[in-house]
């Protein structure tokens, strides 16, 4: 009983340390081992072991750099909410694999709700968007309905999870 209790406590404590590490990393993913160790008050070796475990167990999947499409000359960002014709089998997979081939698509999300799939796409300007929409989007298979919304401004982004 005591042993189980200790085990439980250790597990809970370790989890707290992991969360602490992830909170710091989330704020500054480029943080080096020594700085991170100091921030969470552990030895660099222990932090490095924790990080290895977080990676091995798939909790920490890695990191990526955000691309600013506006700075690259893509002024238009459109969100396409798509309903698929589900009467045909395999419509989801066929649609998704075709959507992946459209270069202007930056994100694909699938949902449970009124909308089946959402595509984020970028274009240089409105005529360019028109071209992508006509030539590449409307030709995607099994679309039953599309609604387009344009992003006016991003108000909040990348604030991190309340871990």
């Amino acid at each position: 009983m005591l042993f189980a209790c200790l085990l439980y406590m250790q597990k809970a404590m370790l989890e707290k340390v992991d969360r602490h590490i992830l909170r710091h990393l989330q704020r500054d993913p480029g943080m080096g081992g020594p700085a991170l160790a100091e921030a969470v008050r552990l030895t660099p070796a222990r932090v490095s072991r924790r990080l290895d475990r977080l990676r091995e167990t798939g909790v920490l999947k890695g990191s990526r750099r955000v691309i600013d499409w506006r700075a690259l000359g893509y002024a238009v960002e459109v969100s396409l909410r798509i309903t698929l014709d589900k009467t045909q089998s395999g419509s989801f997979d066929a649609f998704l694999s075709a959507a992946r081939q459209v270069p202007e698509v930056t994100e694909i999300q699938t949902f449970l709700g009124r909308v089946d799939v959402r595509l984020s796409l970028v274009a240089r300007d409105l005529p360019d968007y028109q071209r992508v929409y006509r030539d590449a989007v409307l030709t995607l298979p099994h679309i039953a309905d599309i609604e387009a919304l344009m992003t006016v401004a991003t108000v909040k982004t990348g604030q991190g999870l309340p871990i």
Binding site: P29, G62, R65, V105, F111, M150
Partner: protein
């Protein structure tokens, strides 16, 4: 700024894996390490290469549910957009806020521990926002990021 093929390959690499050491990136691109650094700095200075963000398994860190909310404001004119934006931005579970043109006014990305927790966030936080009208919720099932037109 005009990008060459090497810049585009560099952006593709960094947009998918920012943990890769510069030595390895340099080798992949067939560049020297200083030349790679110079290119990265130039892309940062022009604002094209943005922040580095951590990629976490949401379920593993305790957020089993991600919901996208389309929010329509009910009393446009009476409540300022600034008031709404300030209030919604302060909710920790709200990860992103985008002002949209179309069917609804704002798109929010909300994380929650589970559906019960999501209901709490929706009722106590979102529905209490100034000027909030219709809210449409779609629960995220899967998500993939592509490198886009690079």
């Amino acid at each position: 700024m005009i990008l060459d093929d090497t810049d585009r390959r560099l952006l593709r690499l960094l947009a998918t894996d920012a943990d890769m050491p510069t030595t390895q990136i340099a080798r992949r691109l067939g560049l020297s390490q200083p030349a790679t650094w110079r290119r990265i700095r130039r892309l940062e200075q022009t604002g094209i290469l943005g922040d580095r963000v951590l990629d976490l398994d949401l379920a593993a860190v305790g957020f089993g549910v991600t919901v996208f909310l389309g929010v329509k404001l009910a009393t446009k004119g009476r409540v300022s957009l600034e008031d709404f934006e300030r209030a919604v931005g302060a909710i920790p579970e709200v990860q992103t806020v985008e002002h949209m043109l179309g069917l609804y006014d704002y798109r929010l990305r909300v994380v929650a521990r589970d559906l019960a927790d999501f209901e709490r966030v929706l009722r106590r936080r979102i529905m209490a926002l100034p000027g909030v009208g219709n809210v449409e919720a779609n629960v995220l099932l899967s998500e993939e990021r592509l490198t886009g037109p690079l």
